[in-house]
């Protein structure tokens, strides 16, 4: 029997979350022979974990909303490090993408006049998040899945891609193993789209599933593509902290959008004291004003008051929580309190936040309609990723595209809640469209070098041949603990330098990692292979964080606590060189004058 099977496609999409499915639907619709290759079963991707909503300036609740305001909010939330053109396209196209979902069968919550309901969220000036209770991601994924299965797309479920293949400098396919059988498949393609999501499994406390092992980031890096702004990792302010079994599990920002407040152990709402200078004047300054805003919003009116400071951007809230805990004003298990019980009637909480109610009741014995939740920051989202062309989502390597969390540029230094679901719709579509166009320009599938494939397969099988190496779980746990400690919410030069050295030591241990059993559905083997991605991407994150000697958005340096104008003009690039991974600075492209005016304008 051959060592591997070869399958030919015009476009192969790696990943079946929202971005991957949206890309596949588009590629297939434009005539490309399209396949999706994904690590889990269809419909299980991490998109289902998105709770709060999808951001789009439909202006169904507040007619003042428009793409310009969404653009401005996104840039401000990203501390102006975003690729302006991506932020513009995203804001302009998100409403069409959301309406399109409805045409495909999505059932969003409704306004009194029968339109798509929108909710408030951190950093968004107006109620902008189309949602379905607190399970918006599931609705989006299921809608795309049901559309996708009738679109003539071949789906290879439970396949993990280990390497991209290149022919004459362009990506010509990938090598994957099938989890069930351990057999290898070469997907020979004219264009490849990465839609693999993020890197959160490199950290100990994370809201991310086992799939988030930085696969696409690593595949791109190894194929010679540039990665952008890898220092920016979002810690979501509200993860569960107790019991240990659920530490890190996400609590939607929708709790705060629906009026929930953060309190320390003294019962004080500490966010009023944590409004950063750039947001001064945008947020309520007294509890009375904040409560007035909630009252108006709940009544379906346009509030005169400014919004509560609990709805500041995620980076700000996460740091404020950390500060309270360090100052000794934390809750018993090292978090702070998130209270919706005293703010809204129980029935409304159950209706608006059903899965939060369920999750706490079942896993933490907490009834959120009666008592506050205990919450703390959890690693949530990777702003950095594959550097792409804003229009086409093409990477810096020919034939390779990226969309969704694995791509970078839209969110800058910090992502606004709700902007990831709109990101994957807008740029998933674009990636599919342009990958398909690229494929159309190529008459035959490029040839594949068999020796390259053999080498990749040999490397993958190596852990079975080791005799006295370590268990992959112990190395992965050590890496996660180290990243949490030294490349976490607050960083310093000494910690980051140590991190780079630690990673080198882990890499030595990983060289002889050993697994038992056979190639059939063997999670130990899978993790042994994932370690390589996780180590390489962890190194790139640490090095990028070391380079940026300032604090901005999600990147906070203890030794450089302020944002510096000079650093506001540069992005970071990580790439592979002959001597390892290097991180360098590149100038940030400034927006054109008419967009800069929008950014400078104060909107009240």
């Amino acid at each position: 029997m051959d060592r591997y099977t070869t399958l030919n496609y015009d476009v192969v999409i790696i990943g079946a979350g929202g971005a991957g499915l949206r890309a596949a639907i588009e590629a297939s619709a434009s005539g490309a022979k399209t396949a999706i290759v994904c690590k889990s079963l269809l419909g299980k991707a991490h998109t289902v974990m998105a709770e709060g909503g999808v951001a789009a300036s439909l202006a169904n609740l507040d007619e003042r909303d428009n793409w310009q305001t969404h653009f401005r909010d996104t840039m401000k939330g990203g501390k102006y490090l975003n690729q302006w053109r991506m932020a513009q396209l995203h804001a302009q196209e998100a409403p069409d993408r959301v309406n399109e979902l409805e045409e495909w069968g999505a059932v969003f919550d409704r306004t009194k006049t029968g339109k798509i309901l929108q909710r408030n969220f951190g950093g968004h000036t107006y109620p902008r998040l189309a949602h379905v209770g607190d399970r918006t991601g599931l609705e989006l994924l299921r809608t795309l899945q049901d559309k996708g299965v009738h679109s003539g797309i071949d789906v290879y479920m439970e396949y993990t891609v280990r390497r991209l293949l290149k022919t004459d400098g362009a990506v010509s396919g990938c090598v994957a193993y099938e989890r069930e059988t351990g057999r290898f498949t070469v997907f020979n393609t004219k264009a490849t789209v990465l839609a693999t999501g993020g890197t959160g499994r490199c950290w100990e406390v994370t809201s991310n599933s086992w799939e988030y092992t930085a696969d696409g980031h690593a595949l791109a890096l190894w194929a010679g593509a540039d990665l952008l702004d890898m220092e920016f990792i979002q810690f979501h302010p509200t993860g569960m902290v107790w019991p240990p079994s659920v530490k890190g599990t996400l609590i939607t920002e929708g709790v705060r959008g629906e009026g929930g407040v953060l309190k320390n152990s003294e019962g004080k709402r500490f966010m009023f004291e944590n409004i950063p200078e750039m947001f001064q004047g945008d947020y309520a300054e007294t509890e009375e004003e904040a409560n007035g805003w909630v009252k108006a919003v709940v009544a379906g009116k346009i509030p005169k008051e400014r919004r509560p400071p609990e709805l500041l951007t995620r980076d700000v809230v996460a740091r404020a929580i950390r500060k309270e805990v360090l100052a000794g004003r934390g809750a018993p298990h090292g978090g702070v309190y998130l209270d919706i019980a005293s703010r809204r009637p129980g029935e409304e909480i159950k209706k608006k936040l059903p899965s939060m109610y369920h999750q706490f009741k079942q896993l933490a014995d907490v009834d959120i309609t009666k008592e506050p939740m205990e919450v703390g920051p959890t690693c949530h989202y990777t702003m950095g990723g594959v550097k792409v062309d804003p229009e086409t989502q093409a990477s810096t390597v020919a034939g390779l595209y990226a969309a969704g969390e694995v791509a970078a540029g839209l969110h800058g230094a910090n992502r606004l809640g709700g902007n990831s679901l709109s990101d994957l719709l807008v740029f998933g579509k674009r990636a599919g469209e342009f990958a398909s166009k690229h494929a159309n320009g190529i008459s035959e599938n490029p040839s594949i070098n068999k020796a390259d494939v053999d080498k990749i397969i040999d490397d993958c099988l190596k852990p079975f041949n080791e005799s006295d190496g370590e268990n992959p779980y112990s190395i992965s746990e050590d890496l996660q603990k180290m990243m949490q400690l030294k490349v976490g919410i607050v960083r310093s030069e000494s910690d980051l330098k140590e991190a780079v050295e630690d990673i080198e030591a882990f890499r030595e241990r990983a060289k002889t990692v050993k697994v038992g059993g056979n190639v059939q559905f063997n999670p130990g083997w899978h993790l042994a292979l994932d370690l390589e991605n996780m180590l390489d991407i962890s190194e790139v994150v640490a090095k990028a964080a070391l380079q940026r000697e300032e604090s901005r958005g999600a990147h906070t340096r203890e030794d450089f606590p302020d944002s510096e104008d000079e650093w506001g003009k540069v992005n970071s690039i990580a790439r592979q060189t002959d001597s390892g991974y290097e991180v360098v600075k590149i100038p940030l492209e400034a927006p054109p004058a008419e967009l800069q005016e929008l950014l400078d304008k104060q909107i009240t």
Partner: protein, 246 residues
């Protein structure tokens, strides 16, 4: 001394296997999936199990815990007496691939055949009370526990004639969608076996999303089919005739 939890986990593949004893340290709030992960980390790295979100939102970690279909990530260990050995097996209705992983591909094939969403032309205005009914069905996370427990599939193995509760829910979500105009009645009766469900409500009992599968999805579908396929005058005639002859 550290408290231990005792487990028996199925180890094997399509050719057979056995229940293997494991013992893992207890941690507060631990769920069954934590115990399985603990076994993976310390004792059997190659133990096959599916999982993703670990928060009851993706429906990947379905298994039979002490014989009951459960999501392992939502099943607390402290529900069971401390000295009890907890057994964990793969879902019985589907063929085993390895250990706790089974072949659920049949479900994906069934789904492809359902007539897709077909929206009406024009403005898409509808109200929350119309959305409510469909949103209940769209909560489904496709854990397939309802398929596992349904005896039409589990005991009678009528996979060729019956699509199971999951896909009757999906059909109901389309049939009752305020914007959908397709008619799935012929398909439901002739290919999907809506009549084969005999309303034992086992599916409703195991649904982790608490979807009232039988009452809200299957029974209304059955009623629609009755309306569609049985002429009320004929029905009345038969009823009267039967009464006379009795």
């Amino acid at each position: 001394m550290e408290q231990e939890a005792k487990l028996q986990i199925f180890r094997g593949d399509k050719d057979g296997g056995e229940m293997v004893d494991y013992s893992v340290p207890r941690i507060p709030g631990m769920v069954v999936l934590d115990a399985v992960h603990s076994v993976q980390k310390q004792q059997a790295a190659d133990l096959g199990v599916r999982w993703n979100c670990k928060a009851g939102k993706c429906g990947s970690c379905s298994a039979e815990v002490n014989g009951k279909p459960k999501l392992m990530c939502m099943e607390r260990m402290d529900k069971y007496p401390e000295d009890e050995t907890i057994s964990i097996r793969p879902m019985k209705t589907f063929p085993v691939i390895k250990d706790l992983v089974c072949d659920v591909s049949w479900n994906f094939e069934v789904n492809k055949k359902i007539i897709p969403f077909t929206p009406k032309e024009g403005e898409r205005i509808f109200y929350q009370y119309e959305a409510d009914r469909v949103q209940e069905f769209r909560k489904c996370i496709e854990c397939f526990l309802c398929q596992d427990v349904c005896h039409v599939l589990r005991e009678h193995e009528l996979q060729n004639e019956f699509i199971g509760p999951r896909f009757l829910v999906r059909s109901a979500s389309l049939e009752m969608h305020p914007l959908d105009v397709a008619d799935r009645s012929e398909q439901l009766v002739k290919e999907q076996g809506v009549g084969l469900c005999n309303i034992t409500k086992c599916c409703t009992e195991v649904c982790p999303e608490e979807i009232t599968i039988t009452d809200n999805a299957i029974i209304p579908l059955k009623e629609r089919m009755v309306d569609k396929y049985y002429d009320p005058l004929k029905w009345l005639w038969r009823k009267l005739f039967r009464k006379k002859s009795a």
